[in-house]
């Protein structure tokens, strides 16, 4: 495997459950970094806390495993101090959108060049299956024994509403699409958000009697459709996939260079 030098092999097999979608995202990301020929010394991954957050221990980049919900502000500090680094910030749905929601929207607004990946398994995996702001109404979870009455965020709409310049969604089933989208997200100059719908067979699947990894992946296959596709048009209940936003706006680190230029002029 060409990307063997991109991982910390001694920690494999990894900690995730059999069939956990987080592994597929790791897999895809490594393929992408490998294909893009990015120098691992230029790569920096910052994660929060959660099953998904354990991903930073597996990649042989500069890695920072921070606090629950705090990956983005930590990454912001790194990027501002070392703008040449390629920042990858994977987050769980709780990490990104529950406790970390404020940092998420502000990162979208600030448009600092990094790639945020929301690994959305619709559950707090690490703590054993509580509902998350992405679980959605009607879901069963350990803290929603009578089914959740919370509507979920549409992560794409939220990112868009907060001003993100690159917003995409795909699933762990759509592995080729995932690679393509991750590639574009990394190439994008500015803050890019990729929501990947992933399976948590252990808690989400079991609690909601939706089966194991394979069934959950089939669910994503059958209940999503590409943006602009006929399938989507015909069935409003499908979740759209694809790139929703891709536009230019001044990047924060570059803008800050102008501040420095101005200030040095004034000295």
């Amino acid at each position: 495997m060409a990307f063997r030098d991109l991982i910390r092999e001694r920690f494999f097999p990894h900690i995730w459950c059999p069939g956990c979608g987080h592994g597929t995202v790791l897999n895809s990301l490594l393929h992408v970094v490998d294909k893009m020929g990015l120098d691992p010394t230029s790569m920096c991954m910052v994660s929060g806390i959660g099953c998904s957050a354990r991903i930073s221990g597996y990649v042989n980049f500069h890695t920072m495993h921070t606090m629950h919900g705090r990956a983005l502000p930590c990454a912001t500090g790194i990027k501002l101090a070392k703008p040449q680094l390629n920042m990858i910030v994977p987050m769980g749905d709780g990490d990104a959108m529950a406790i970390g929601g404020n940092h998420f929207i502000h990162a979208c607004r600030r448009n600092i060049d990094m790639t945020a990946i929301v690994l959305n398994n619709r559950i707090y995996g690490m703590t054993g299956g509580q509902y998350s702001p992405l679980s959605g109404r009607g879901v069963l979870a350990t803290t929603a024994p009578y089914r959740s009455i919370d509507d979920d965020f549409d992560a794409v709409a939220l990112a868009q509403g907060a001003g993100a310049t690159f917003v995409a969604r795909t699933t762990a089933f759509h592995v080729k699409e995932l690679s393509k989208i991750l590639t574009k997200a990394i190439q994008h100059k500015g803050f890019s958000v990729v929501e990947v719908m992933v399976q948590c067979p252990t808690y989400f699947g079991r609690k909601n009697k939706m089966g194991g990894a394979v069934q959950l992946l089939e669910y994503y296959r059958d209940n999503t459709a590409p943006l602009g596709s006929k399938k989507l048009e015909e069935n409003q209940n499908l979740i759209p996939r694809g790139i929703f936003v891709e536009r230019e706006r001044p990047e924060y680190c570059e803008e800050y260079q102008n501040v420095i230029a101005l200030a040095e002029g004034k000295e």
Partner: protein, 385 residues
């Protein structure tokens, strides 16, 4: 500007802190405004870009502290500044910095709390919070100052200590010190020692261990983006930085985190003393309260009273032996502070005769006065009120 104007300024304490930070090599500041610390952010917004550094106003205090952690790991000397409510919010990330051994400086310009309290009034009641505000066993360094000039100097020290011991350092100032203006002399570069970050000498291809102490106890760092790639986590970790649950390794790390600071009390102690040699009544104070104490001491000395002052610039780790030694011959010890006796409790533990330690305090948002001290002394000396 002429040379004189460049070196000597008439500034607020908060600006002196900024000047000290820049002198020490600050290159990254992230903050969120809060009275009475805001001037620190404002001066840095103007001055950091002049030296190519980065100022960023984050969405809140949590994000600010997180950004400081990130920037420090990326190689920049980093700082944030706040006051009580923001200091409370930063606690989780301060604990992260302690655990991951990230050098950084956190300024808390104290105001009256709890809660919003009195945003523009002085207090010194975050002393114990500075030590115990975050969860879990750890240790921390905390410094204070009582003149604008000292605010400059201890800020430089704070960076030096942060770098030398890979630890967050708390600068515990207060509203009076932050807002007061005095003359500040900025020494020429090189006059005050500045501790640079110790970076690893390990060559490419050779294993670098971010958490393997050298013989002298220091842990060389490697900036994110440099040749060595390694892992940082807030979990218990091994010398590589990778998570471990091994009891022996956990135990070792706890002791390392505590000992690297508590074991260096003498090295870290900073203080000033006035007329202690023959003092029967020893005042112990810090921050703006120490100005009132000094005032009283000077006035009483002129009248021939045997009174002296020990000003603690290092509060944590608490210099127990120093306090014991300096008060050894005192009949009475008066701790002057603006809280309900947080440092007094430490002093009581340090001295031989805790029964002769008295508190002179004020917790109403105004600066404790020399008269307050005098009044308590009268009572203790049996002279009534």
């Amino acid at each position: 500007m002429s040379a004189t104007q460049q070196d000597v300024r008439f500034v607020q304490g908060n600006e002196a802190c900024v000047r000290g930070a820049l002198y020490a090599g600050l290159r990254f500041f992230a903050g969120y405004p809060i009275t009475p610390s805001t001037e620190i952010a404002e001066h840095l917004a103007e001055n950091l870009p002049k030296v190519g550094g980065t100022f960023v106003q984050m969405e809140d205090e949590i994000a600010s502290m997180c950004a400081v952690c990130g920037a420090s790991l990326a190689g920049s000397k980093s700082m944030t500044a706040t006051s009580g409510p923001g200091f409370s919010l930063k606690q989780e990330a301060i604990g992260y910095a302690a655990m991951a051994e990230i050098p950084c400086v956190v300024v808390d310009v104290q105001r009256a709390g709890p809660s919003t309290g009195l945003a523009t009034k002085v207090a010194q009641a975050d002393v114990n919070q500075a030590r115990w505000g975050t969860h879990g066993e750890h240790s921390i360094v905390t410094l204070t100052a009582s003149t604008v000039q000292d605010m400059f100097a201890v800020t430089v020290e704070a960076f030096n200590i942060a770098e030398a011991y890979r630890t967050p350092v708390i600068l515990l100032f207060d509203e009076v010190m932050g807002h007061m203006r005095e003359r500040l002399v900025i020494p020429p570069a090189g006059e005050l020692p500045v501790t640079e970050r110790l970076r690893t000498a390990v060559k490419p291809g050779v294993n670098y261990h971010p958490y393997l102490p050298r013989e002298d106890g220091r842990l060389p760092m490697s900036d994110y983006g440099d040749i060595h790639r390694y892992h940082v986590t807030g979990l218990y970790h091994d010398i590589w930085g990778f998570p471990t649950e091994q009891p022996e390794q956990v135990n070792k790390l706890v002791h390392h985190l505590v000992d690297k600071i508590e074991g260096r009390v003498h090295e870290l102690a900073r203080w000033k003393e006035f007329y202690l040699e023959d003092a029967e009544n020893v005042l112990i104070s810090y921050g703006s309260a120490a100005r009132s104490a000094r005032h009283l001491v000077e006035t009483r000395r002129q009248k021939g009273h045997r009174v002296g002052l020990l000003e603690l610039q290092t509060i944590w780790p608490f210099p127990k032996d120093l306090v014991r030694e300096k008060t050894a011959n005192a009949k009475n010890v008066f701790v002057v502070e603006m809280n309900m006796g947080q440092v007094m409790a430490q002093v009581k533990q340090a001295v031989d005769n805790p029964d002769h330690v008295y508190l002179v305090n004020r917790v109403d948002g105004t600066l404790v006065t020399p008269t307050d001290i005098g009044n308590v002394m009268r009572v203790i000396e049996g002279k009534g009120v």
